[in-house]
């Protein structure tokens, strides 16, 4: 589904990604872990071209999306993204946050979009918040709404960029729970996170990134029980 070939990204003179090759199949739940500054967020943001790769190619559903002729906006409609800081639109109500893109991109009629939004809100138990503004919600509620906002576009892949890192500890659970549900429904997911428990439980594959490369990857069982790379051993000893 997603193929990454020799991806490199340089910010000014700082090389953040140093040649990444990766293949992500439909239905996989890939969890990326690693120390901060390892390039994992940059890698994720390259997948939907929020960062423009310096070198290399990314293919999505048989299309080279790094080709400048590719319509980025169409591509992004199929890739939902969830951010660390939620990035809900504070000037719009919860309902408008969810329906904005489907309506403005003319993918759904206003009525369809609203029905869909209410269905999604009901699913996360927040349909009574439809008419409120994001600033009146807790972090966990905001992040769950950010997730359904992305789902409202019916994406084929969901990208999560440290979705629980900005949350108070007692709100992490509700967000992870929703992500688990998505995973169980067969959504293809790429998740950058520090939640090792989530990686162990949900991932089909765990990648360890450090210094701009994927140092090691394995099934979650092997990854945590039997790490080979000394850097990964060191990392795991610190976080587990």
């Amino acid at each position: 589904m997603i193929t990454v070939k020799n991806l490199e990204k340089t910010f000014d003179k700082n090389m953040v990604l140093k040649g990444i090759n990766e293949e992500i199949a439909q239905g996989e739940k890939v969890v990326i872990v690693g120390p901060s500054g390892s390039g994992k967020s940059t890698f994720l943001r390259c997948l939907n071209l929020l960062e423009t790769p310096t070198k290399g190619e990314i293919w999505f559903e048989g299309k080279n999306i790094t080709d400048p002729r590719t319509n980025i906006n169409e591509l992004r409609q199929k890739m939902g993204m969830v951010f660390q800081h939620f990035n809900l639109f504070p000037h719009l109500t919860v309902l408008e946050n969810i329906t904005l893109a489907p309506i403005k991109l003319e993918l759904q009629s206003e009525q369809q979009a609203e029905e869909n939004a209410y269905r999604l809100l009901k699913r996360i138990g927040l349909e009574d918040k439809a008419k409120t503004y994001p600033n009146q919600l807790s972090g966990g509620q905001k992040q769950r709404i950010a997730i359904v906002r992305a789902l409202a576009m019916n994406p084929k892949v969901m990208l999560f960029d440290e979705p629980t890192s900005a949350l108070d500890p007692e709100m992490v659970g509700e967000v992870l729970e929703l992500m688990k549900e998505l995973a169980n429904e067969g959504m293809t997911m790429v998740v950058v996170t520090h939640e090792m428990g989530f990686a162990r439980e949900v991932a089909t594959r765990v990648l360890f990134m450090d210094q701009g490369v994927i140092m090691e990857q394995n099934t979650p069982e092997q990854f945590f029980a039997n790490p080979h790379n000394p850097r990964l051993q060191d990392f795991l000893s610190k976080v587990l």
């Binding site: 929020l50 591509l75 992004r76 409609q77 993204m81 951010f83 000037h91 600033n135």
Partner: protein, 230 residues
């Protein structure tokens, strides 16, 4: 008391002098409101060019960016009276409509200041907002229009209000090109009655206009703040 009444009578009623003030007020309001509209339009355009050019370094964006920077530098670097005289005496010398010259001059002048205000307001919107919009598949212009600008307005409004107020008062130099604006009207009456009363009246009219404008802006700001709390 009767002295004051007498002065008011001589300033306003004799020879229907209040008509002069009304005419001046009308011109001032026309110039200020039209120039404000032009200023906001130019300012918005220049600001969007400058913000877009930060990420988009295609050659035409670089050229547009340079042109906009030049415009802002020149307009902010020269006095508005000089701009007015140049417009009237040279650039638009063939045009025999001083009011139009004044509107364009003040509009172009204000645009440079408004551009910087709007640019700063856009920059103050969290980068994640635009990223969230783009990640949903919205185009750059949709993201700007639907997500960034509505939030920027809140940052912009107080400074923009100041600019409107400054512009309204700046139009008082329109008399330099033989327009009878409010100030000029007061001055005309002053030269006939040889007494400062008309000037005080003019000052009070400006004051009332500015206070009214401030009040409207405050109302508007309060309406925009509705998503902040409740």
């Amino acid at each position: 008391m009767s002295y004051i009444l007498d002065q008011l009578y001589r300033t306003l009623i004799v020879d229907k002098r209040y008509m002069l003030l009304l005419e001046g007020l009308k011109n001032t309001l026309i110039i200020a409101s039209c120039a404000t509209a032009i200023g906001v339009a130019i300012g918005l355009l220049v600001a969007i060019v400058k913000v877009t050019a930060q990420n988009n370094r295609k050659w035409y964006m670089v050229v547009l960016d340079k042109i906009c920077s030049f415009y802002v530098t020149v307009i902010r670097g020269t006095p508005v009276v000089v701009q007015l005289l140049i417009m009237n005496g040279s650039i638009m010398a063939a045009v025999n409509a001083e009011l139009l010259v004044a509107i364009l001059t003040f509009g172009i002048n204000s645009g440079a200041y408004v551009a910087e205000i709007i640019r700063a307001g856009i920059m103050a919107v969290d980068k994640g907002q635009a990223e969230a919009g783009r990640s949903l598949g919205l185009t750059q212009s949709m993201t700007m229009k639907l997500i960034v600008l509505p939030q920027a307005v809140k940052n912009i409004l107080p400074a923009l209000g100041n600019e409107f107020i400054a512009l309204l008062k700046e139009t008082s130099v329109a008399g330099y090109i033989a327009i009878r604006d409010l100030t000029k009207a007061g001055d005309n009456i002053f030269s006939r009655v040889v007494n400062s009363t008309p000037l005080y009246i003019v000052a009070i009219i400006y004051l009332v206009l500015v206070m009214g404008l401030s009040y409207l802006l405050k109302l508007f700001e309060r309406r925009l703040a509705k998503s902040d709390h409740r």
